[in-house]
Amino acid sequence: MASRLQAPEIKLDNVSVGYGERLVLQNITATLPAGGISVILGGSGCGKSTLLRNILGLAPLIGGAITLGDVNLYARSEEEMVALRMRLGVLFQDGALLGSLTLGENVALPLHEHTELDEALIYEVVNMKLRLVGLEQFIDYYPRQLSGGMRKRAGLARAMALDPAILLCDEPTSGLDPITSADMDQLILELKATFAMTIVVVTHDLESLFTIADFVVVLEKGRMLFTGTLDELRRCEDPYIVNFLDRQPSRKSAILNDDCLFAKLRSRQGAGRG
């Protein structure tokens, strides 16, 4: 099968994304390496999901070009897009499993749609994919019966259903407790080691950045701050990036830094109680 050949690299060339008139991100230029894990790091609301939707071809691109392997995403024929879709696996932010179907049916959906396998074989494949993420005993559960972390893992199983060459994950660890997050990172590393895939992870989680990343893109306030390998990021001396990685708050506290105001607020609170 052609899709088994090789994981493609993803090129972003001077990309701008946004909604209608409004620009969310501008001038992003980066080459996400084939077969590695690239992490796109940015704060909440900085446009990570929007960029991801553009890499998937779900939203109109405002400027620049996105190339997956040798296919220019916004200048391709309909057949190329269909072929490309079969090689893309996506884990959406909250799993985006269909609520009306069980986990098993969710994972089976792409198989039913794109292959002519018979029911028994599809069941086998579904079971295998769920085992991959440790959810095989939940095959008959509905998404609403699972925890957030399990839904994300199930979303990952569905993304893996057709053995994609590119796997995109939108905040795989957000909303999870530290241990579940670490499990998720572990799972992504396992997938990278086992399958030949280009993996793109969008996140604001520094912990997982340092655990899984081979290549990093840092976004902030509508533009790209940094792009390079994880080592280059560690050596980087840009004060903003150093701050960002140290998790310093971006503004000085008006309350904590003003002794007079602080004392006033404290005494008023005391008076309120008394």
Binding site: R53, L56, L58, V82, R85, M86, L88, V90, F92, Q93, D94, A96, L97, L98, G99, S100, L101, E105, A108, L109, P110, H112, E113, H114, E119, R158
Partner: protein
């Protein structure tokens, strides 16, 4: 506005593609689609039956009462049957049934699709290369085209029956006269035109409610707003369509 129009055209386009594939295409139906259609048939149809029956029965009685007040004055009480039968079959049966369908099924369509839109399930379908319209809208559309006329037929039957029983028990009109009068006066084409009308209403409801669902953007609040809009617009369009149908009927009678 442009965005809304674009989505509407996309929806109509995709639906006609589904119809083309269903009636002229080859290849087996995907197993998951089959289950979905049966689900819709049963919950639009069977689950609406009690409420449709109650409302139809009340309407039959109301019409009989209203007609009796006027017809007693001119000593033509047996014409109650004509009035009840004709009003229900051509107008109130389709309209009231489809109003209930709007509130029950239509609102649920919008809420379902809007929620799926917001939780990125629609995006997920598209990424998997699946046609969201074929998966979500087409089964609803077909179920509606089948169920709206069937429910209307049932409400016609219940309305006329309850009008008859009421006239017999309270107004002192003999049941035999009532049903003979109904049978001779009501034409088959009256019934059919009512059923065609309800199928038209059903199609309009599905189209509008699913369209509003796909327009949902961000946040759970939008689901509620879209649902409200969908119900109001459906009722509005239904009344306009009704006017149109009735005028056509009058012109070509």
């Amino acid at each position: 506005m442009g965005e809304e129009l674009r989505v509407f055209i996309w929806l109509v386009n995709s639906l006609s593609r589904c119809a083309g594939r269903r009636f002229f295409g080859k290849g087996r139906t995907k197993p998951y689609l089959r289950d979905v259609s049966w689900n819709h048939l049963s919950w639009i149809g069977a689950d609406s039956l009690p409420i449709v029956s109650v409302i139809a029965a009340c309407t039959g009685i109301i019409l009989a009462l209203q007609a009796a007040i006027q017809l007693e004055k001119v000593g033509a009480l047996s014409y109650v049957a004509n009035l009840v039968g004709f009003s229900i079959v051509t107008e109130l049966g389709p309209l009231l049934t489809c109003l209930i369908i709007t509130g029950r099924a239509g609102a649920a369509f919008t809420a379902e699709i809007a929620t799926m839109k917001i939780s990125e399930e629609i995006d997920a379908l598209e990424v998997m290369g699946m046609d969201a319209v074929r998966f979500l809208v087409w089964p609803k559309f077909m179920a509606m085209l089948i169920m709206a006329p069937l429910l209307t037929l049932w409400s016609d039957f219940v309305g006329i029956l309850s009008g008859g029983i009421f006239s017999n028990a309270v107004l002192g009109l003999s049941g035999k006269v009532y049903f003979e009068q109904t049978a001779t006066f009501l034409k088959f084409t009256d019934v059919v035109s009512g059923l065609v009308k309800s199928a038209g209403f059903g199609a309009a409801i599905t189209l509008i409610c699913c369209w509003q669902g796909f327009l949902a953007r961000d946040g759970a609040a939008d689901v509620g707003q879209r649902t409200t809009k969908a119900v109001v617009q459906s009722i509005f369009i239904m009344i306009l369509l009704d006017l149109f149908f009735t005028a056509l009927n009058y012109i070509f009678r």
